[in-house]
Subunit: 350 residues, 4 copies
């Protein structure tokens, strides 16, 4: 019953097996190996065009490297106030970008809009050279509130970016979950909608530690390799990073894993909706559920061994907000155990 995060999950057996399979004989290091080449080809296929892709080990590295590549040190990135890059990466974007700032926009559901971008740019330009001038927008898909931008919403943000000469980055730590929700193609959700660079997540969805930074225009990727190297993010035994992605992409494992996690979230949400006093406060579109829950029920369920976090306090809600996250490894049994625990606690309280 661990719903604390999708990074408390183990790794997909297929991915572990791929590591063992890859550990055979000597191969060239630093990415000049056949597995890395295969991942690159797979990503071209999945995105229906030649892409420029770079494996890295963590989502923070993927985001920070991507942003540093498209934003100059005296620039800025527009993002949601609750964006992972703004709140949960301990300043990694600022570090990698050389001090560029994040310009954060309030967002009740994690999504930002073209209008907000227009307004932020107007303010920035109004400030002249005394203010940082944004050079990129970063959106998270699925968002930190478990919601998903539609293709149209992404396209609207991208259109605002084009108007202002901004690059568009998508933090896709849960890209698979977003895709599973929308049922569209990876291409439709990214470059066809106007995304310039994607942090393509795998770690939360079955890998040990693997993401890919994907540029849809190779010219934008200029300098990325040296940035990755000097960040200490280039693995010497790169085959072991690439092998994870290779297995992740093989036979649609990534889409199956994500679809499963989303399904588990729907089951869990259905149970939560049935608990008196609990209200789900965001649309459940990916693998996260945010709910207002009475304090004593939180304590009781924690005591029952259910792991989930108290989240940021939201003024105006009667109860604390809690977050549940499902993963590829969440089982029907986990959900059922939770259901029983909740039911028992509700009966006790009645």
């Amino acid at each position: 019953m661990n719903f604390a995060s999708d990074n408390t999950a183990p790794a997909s057996p297929e991915i572990l097996a791929a590591l063992t399979a890859a550990s055979h004989g000597a191969v060239s290091s630093y990415g000049a190996d056949p597995i890395t080449a295969r991942v690159s080809a797979r990503l071209d296929e999945i995105f229906e065009r030649p892409v420029t892709s770079f494996p890295v080990a963590t989502g923070t590295a993927a985001n920070a490297l991507a942003l540093a590549t498209i934003v100059r040190p005296f620039g800025a990135v527009i993002c949601a106030e609750e964006a992972h890059i703004a709140t949960d990466e301990c300043g990694a974007p600022e570090f990698y970008m050389g001090g560029a700032k994040l310009v954060t926009l309030p967002s009740p559901d994690g999504r930002i809009t073209a209008d907000q971008i227009d307004a932020a740019m107007a303010r920035a330009i109004d400030g002249g050279i005394h203010h940082v001038l944004p050079e990129a927008v970063s959106i998270t898909q699925a968002t930190e509130w478990g919601t998903v931008y539609t293709v149209e919403q992404v396209a609207a943000v991208a259109a605002a970016c084009k108007r202002h000469g901004l690059k568009l980055h998508m933090d896709g730590a849960r890209f698979g979950n977003a895709l599973a929700h929308l049922g569209c193609t990876p291409a439709a959700l990214t470059w066809q909608a106007g995304v310039d660079v994607l942090s393509f997540g795998a770690t939360k969805n079955g890998a040990l530690a693997a993401e890919a930074v994907i540029f849809f225009d190779p010219a934008l990727a200029d300098g990325f390799e040296r940035r990755r190297k000097r960040a200490g993010q280039l693995w010497s035994k790169m085959r072991f990073l690439s092998a994870q992605l290779d297995a992740y992409l093989e036979a649609d494992l990534w889409r199956r894993n994500a679809a499963h996690a989303n399904r588990m979230a729907q089951h869990l949400a259905a149970i939560l909706r049935d608990i008196p006093g609990v209200s789900i406060i965001q649309d459940v579109q990916a693998n996260e559920i945010f709910a207002a829950m009475p304090d004593d029920l939180i304590e009781a369920l924690h005591a029952d061994g259910a792991h989930f976090y108290r989240w940021i306090e939201t003024p105006g809600t009667a109860h604390p907000i809690v977050r549940f996250v499902t993963a590829f490894s969440t089982t029907e049994a986990d959900i059922e155990t939770f259901r029983l625990a909740a039911q028992r606690r509700v009966r006790q309280a009645a």
Copy 2:
């Protein structure tokens, strides 16, 4: 017959097995897991004192994070001209340290001396505030020329550091190989000799991607955790980084692997010494061999499928310099194949 580098090697089966074993159930992320705790305890034991240790994925990250923790942005690090941090990390130390410089000292065999440090400090102090003032020394053990500092040599460097208020960092990407050569304890070679922080390598010696930064004084490690996080070097599924180190340290795997690699280097060196026209130009003390070799023999052996690099040209040598590296995975058969190829080529040439 791949002697190109120890990072062309696969991973130790024990380490792969540990990954699979670790992938079981949900555990807390970001290092609050039992495997990470066990690695910490193992390192305390190995170094015969409580140490403050942090797993990271790459040697470059280990070095750059260690140096950034002990050197301020306006400081500098003294190291050998051919130090990996100076030549092969694409500016990672400068990036992590926020622009601090490396002050490089010439070294024919990869080792630097207390006298050189004294002289470098005299020059720096003479320059006043217009010059960067070193705050640390970094030595590589085993060095980039395959040589090994004796315990006494490390202690002499450390004494110079103490005289000048410098911290001493040891880049131990091949620490196991150095130790196997010296036969001393890890404690004797590090904190007992005056080392403040160690990049403890595992990747080159059997891991997939794992190193540990080890501080011998916990006060020195202040801020390291946030630096690691904002560098994108903190794994969410930390168990998979720690599991590698756990297996690496278990039953002395690391020392066995290193000793094997060193032994293979000795065998290979013996063969090379017997080849007319070839001269080994550095003491073979770890798992690297540097030799002057006639150009046509290099070409011939490359054609035979022997992988090894042409190295930095050294003025005054008649032949090009080549580097051979052995690894935990180098086999007697590899060596024998090379011997036969070399013999055949020598006969042909005769």
Copy 3:
């Protein structure tokens, strides 16, 4: 009738004369000259204790260097949302600090409170190592809204800083104006109240380009000299920077200049208060006036040659907000000219 900013003003004649007087013969460069020594002694006297002071040319440099000295690259600074460091220095603090972030707090009048700091620290600590942890607070005195912290308010902020282990920086670009308003001693308003480091402004108050960074604890200033040098902020002909400060401090020029500017602001405020439809929205405590003013009156006065800025739009105000700034060089005649123009425009509109 230029009320656009106190930096549109010229320089005090006394300060210009000091430059000419200083330009005599050869003296040691980089601060080892007698004028710099005299400024240092004067500042000790003014602050009633030995202080460690460093002249620099701009307020942005003073703030950014001060903050970089007391905050590590992975830390953060708490400040008001409208703080100059957050909005008008194009990311200078982030650049100098090596990527550390600003944590901004909303403030209707430019002042932040101990309670806000407590809350910000609670949020930061709650986020663990994924969030930046503030290491300093920066307050502006007088604030960007023309208000002034009382000594008690500074002391309350300082007490909150002490509770959380934070250093307290005061951006005193208009320190003289604040002091003139309060009538207290410089010591009372700074170190006696708990301020650790002060950006002591002179440029807006009569200098050409001169500020001093003043540390009240010499230990805190460690490394400042090299930071200043590598920032390109150390003048070779330092006498010309110091001479400005020397004349500024001589015979209380700084206090007289500031008192005059404040007085002019009061006169101007009195006139503005008498204009129908205009309302002053902040207490006028230093040399800035913020007023809501009907759009057509703004246009009319601009047409009359009165220089003043439209300011940030404040939702909920009927009219645009405008800012007037007075300076040491503002004359009674300027004020009277404005009064006549305003009267004429009011009559026209009636």
Copy 4:
């Protein structure tokens, strides 16, 4: 008798007068003033083409900002081992560039050659992504050894830059002195020879604190304004920075000052050549003289009140190396006083 440095000199009276003249009435801040516009026009005229120019206060700021604008954080700058940017700016280039490295080349007379650049690029490319890749070359004109690149030498360096896609920066802290020696036009020595960006020095040659960064291709200057602002190098009362440059350029003051300093250096050199045991070790082409001088004579002249520095020890020279610098303010009387002191000391020793 102060020959310690040209920055121990006072300011030209014309420049001081310009400051006083500029301090009149209110003008727009941050560079939107008529004096700044006039400087810009003057520089266009002097360089015989429209240039993009930015006043800053120090030579270190000029160099560091120029380099940061043309080199990315993961790049590098090729320069001479004794270049001011490498030895005397306390890491300012590294700070401003965000960690990019300097690749230094040995140079006995301060000049570097096209061949050296070719070789440095070959080494860098050979190292692949593990090595930093230079993106610019910086040459100093006049050099740190008091020598001057001919136009042809500059053009040869520039040609090497073009071959390798490198930008060419000229540190012209003593540009006027170089020009006075060569007698060519500013255009011939810069953009016509292939220089991309010039640090145009004024401080050492009569200003209080003023330099200009001059880009010959406006596209290269992209972002400079925000870099200058966030570096705290943008003066609010910009007129006082520009007024210095304005007077400096007016009626060829800069060329007259430089020619005078060079002439004084020739006189001084003639005297030094006549002293038994003293040998001048570099061509005296600008306003610096480097000489080997017996230790006791150094001490004696210092005792006589002659200021000059002992310089970097050069192995293989019998006597210590000393440096003499003349300035616009050096008088015939200073030289004569030195001549008499030297003669007296020589007689005493005889």
